[in-house]
Assembly symmetry: C2
Homo-oligomer: 491 residues x 2
């Protein structure tokens, strides 16, 4: 690289994807490791991306009738152990408070790995009658699951998330609610983060501990590995029975309500990086980009600087007044920044490309003379001269088009890397040579699923919801398969 | 009470203030205790109030150049113990994680009681040069301080808050930043929550452990007790030295930066309840009220119900299109609800009065005939017939006026209950007979301050900033006093 002295170099994505990811996260200043093993610090640029997806999901959650609440960080040991499958699933990952206020505690307190058991215990006082249902709650909080191997955003001991918890009078209402949660995740992933996802059902091996079944949305990263982008659980009456929640129904019978829970976490920041990024760093969808356009003034003399500043000033005023209309009808101004730092243009291009800013506008003395700027698109580095007096008015549409383009590119990538396979040898070869999603027939047996995973490192991500019956023979043992399952190596 | 069967009765405020407070919090469904000792559950109505003040403060914080970040929940013991005064102040209240992931930890981890020590340790890598300063960060998170006696919102083992942490090249910049934080709290308290506050400096006894000095805003509750509504700390170079943070300044010298930190918590929900509430329950300022106007249809027959519904429908449409302009220029629609539940009007009046909704509109068949509704103001129960076709247009101004009225009433209450006292006997008598703020001369000696507290239960809340020198004789020992201190019994 000619300007090696000026740039923050990162590992090439094609050379070493994990090293590329780590470089992007740290050098774009999204997050960093902390003095506490496995816990991360989310820096301003990373937190702004999280705030954007959090706020978008929060709007969905509220529009669909859920209310935000807060429940304690601690879960007493006796409560965590009430639901047998649940405790078995989470116990090995729990962090325990044993001492507090200068004393040893009588009962250990778990740092919540999730809040099902605590919430079930509390709502039994709130749910007396069918009139108290449905109860539609959502929590934004931090949870802790002790992890041995951690990766920033993707797998950290502490992470931020949203956990919805709902209770319903009938099974059908709970089934519908599980779908409502999943649709919220599809919408945020696809319409906000420009990440195409496939909806499906987890296998028995992979479902949430204590759930009747778990639905998930799965996305494909640019290295061909899958990432779970949100899960929605049908809890049935499991937690309600364990906590003795009963309500008097319309028919005067006492019943246990049917529960659901669903969650979406800071790992989606990692998904956004890995779904769109390239050798130069982040490629951010405009909806979530903290800066949507960066203006880089180019000058050598004070005289040039004055001329460029004079041309940029009215543009800034116009951008401050700009309004972009979002999918839900809200409007917001274009988020822009002018980079007047004392660095070379090359340094600045690199700086903002690393940070995935959708558009860069270069304005030099010759541009000023022509009353234009050079608009560079991050996704393909295409350049186009644009009249300065038209830019603010055009940018909202250009950002919309960019948002569509980045989604379209991700859909095409996903489709190009989804393989339909029937034979086990082909399956193994494709996973090594063209990693991606593999749709393949599976007999439905848990032991067979585990053996495939042991043999190949690939797991069943989901059995996709949106497919009709397609009888076949299990790729490993030849037993009958009703529908293909979606396999992949995964984060 | 004639309608005793229909109403949720609460203790009268004048009879037993603490019982009144507890009734309001629990019966208006703001919060409740949890199965974890000292930890609270914040219910939807209480959380919506918290979200409103949180979002308003977040806008202030961002407007003044601070960026949101996230730091881990855990602080390793060795870090917490780096600043001597700090550890002494917080150690007795810390909750400790000793086991995690099925093993005993080599080093105990504190659940953060606050994050100064962890942040200082991390930013030493980020602050190398004066160009890296100022570093202006803010965190929204949960902290834990083990408390023996807890009260919902006011003193809980876990609470939600915001903690800002900043680092500056010069002492003066840090001094200015401490004032910036304090002004954010004044603005949210007065302009958003309608709670008048006094700015001042904490005494040495009361300052933050590890700080050079602490500023605070103090508010007066309706029982005459004071409540600290936010604190802003000048940390000087204390934490920076303990963590070895050094930067290369413009003059090529290596220096420790000057730090500040400031915090505002869920206890301000408690302050909002106690600053405005009355015998019927909450009285909420419109800016923060989750529901600003409730419409109560009144009918006995199906025919009446149809007529009333027909009159309310166009009003609902008009309210959905309404826009109220907020202090910062943003606009938002009026938040309204129509209460069609199968309950008596009396039950509904009581329900919404308990919840502090600023306006109630009663619409019955006779109102419909007259094309009007009866608008009832929560703060004084005054009634006024209002034409239904004008209400949506008038409500934004009426809400503004209500916001001013509730603030004016609180200022008058505070002024009526602030006493200027010179003699110790008068001081003791006033605290018992007319509890409130007491401005009294004090010699500045810590031992004397503690003796006054032991004698009377009153503490020095602050030495107000906004007063000129006023020499006097200390109310307890007669030694010279430069300025009066502000005393009160306090939460």
């Amino acid at each position: 690289m000619a300007k090696a002295g000026f740039v923050t170099s990162i590992t090439r994505q094609s050379e070493d994807f994990p090293a590329w990811y780590n470089d992007v996260v740290r050098k774009a200043e999204l997050a960093d490791y902390s003095p506490v093993r496995g816990c991360m610090i989310i820096r301003p640029y990373g937190y702004a991306i999280w705030e954007s997806m959090r706020d978008e999901l929060d709007r969905h959650i509220k529009r669909t009738g859920h209310q935000n609440v807060y429940f304690p960080l601690f879960v007493p040991r006796s409560l965590l152990e009430k639901e047998a499958e649940h405790v078995e699933g989470f116990n090995p990952q729990v962090a325990w408070v044993t001492h507090a206020g200068g004393e040893e505690l009588n009962e250990w307190l778990a740092i919540r790995p999730t809040s099902e058991t605590l919430i079930a215990e509390v709502v039994k006082d709130w749910i007396q009658s069918y009139r108290d249902l449905p109860l539609l709650m959502n929590l934004w909080n931090n949870v802790v699951r002790w992890e041995l191997r951690t990766r920033l955003f993707l797998r950290t001991t502490e992470f931020l998330w949203q956990e919805a918890h709902t209770f319903h009078a009938t099974e059908q209402e709970a089934v519908d609610e599980v779908a409502t949660g999943l649709e919220a995740y599809r919408s945020v992933a696809e319409d906000w983060l420009a990440i195409p996802v496939i909806k499906g059902r987890k296998t028995e091996n992979e479902k949430f501990p204590g759930a009747v079944y778990t639905l998930a949305v799965e996305a494909l990263m640019r290295d061909g590995k899958a990432l779970q982008a949100g899960t929605s659980h049908m809890l049935g009456q499991n937690f309600a029975r364990a906590a003795n929640i009963e309500f008097l129904d319309r028919d005067n019978e006492r019943k246990n309500p049917h529960g659901t829970s669903w969650g979406f976490s800071t790992r989606m920041v990692g998904a956004t990086i890995m779904a769109h990024g390239d050798d130069s760093g982040l490629v951010l969808p405009p909806n979530v980009a903290p800066v949507q356009v960066v203006i880089v003034p180019i000058f050598r003399s004070d005289e040039d600087r004055t001329a460029v500043a004079g041309a940029i000033k009215p543009l800034e005023a116009a951008l401050r007044d700009s309004r972009r209309t979002l999918p839900d009808g809200r409007t917001e101004p274009v988020r822009f920044q002018v980079d007047w730092r004392e660095e070379t243009p090359g340094f600045k291009y690199n700086h903002w490309e690393l940070r995935g800013v959708p558009f860069r506008l270069e304005v030099g003395p010759r541009d000023v003379a022509a009353e234009q700027g050079m608009l560079v698109k991050r996704i393909d580095r295409s350049k186009e001269p644009v009249p300065l007096d038209r830019l603010a008015a055009e940018l909202p549409d250009r950002l919309d088009a960019y948002q569509r383009e980045i989604f379209g590119r991700a859909v095409a990538f996903r489709d190009d890397n989804t393989h339909r396979i029937d034979e086990y040898d082909d399956f193994k070869r494709v996973l090594d040579e063209q990693p991606g999603f593999v749709l393949a027939p599976w007999c439905g047996d848990s032991a067979c699923e585990k053996q495939i995973s042991t043999d190949t490192g690939a797991t069943i991500r989901i059995v996709p919801l949106d497919q009709s019956d397609e009888p076949g023979a299990c790729l490993r043992d030849g037993r009958p398969s009703r529908q293909p399952a979606l396999f992949a190596r995964a984060y």
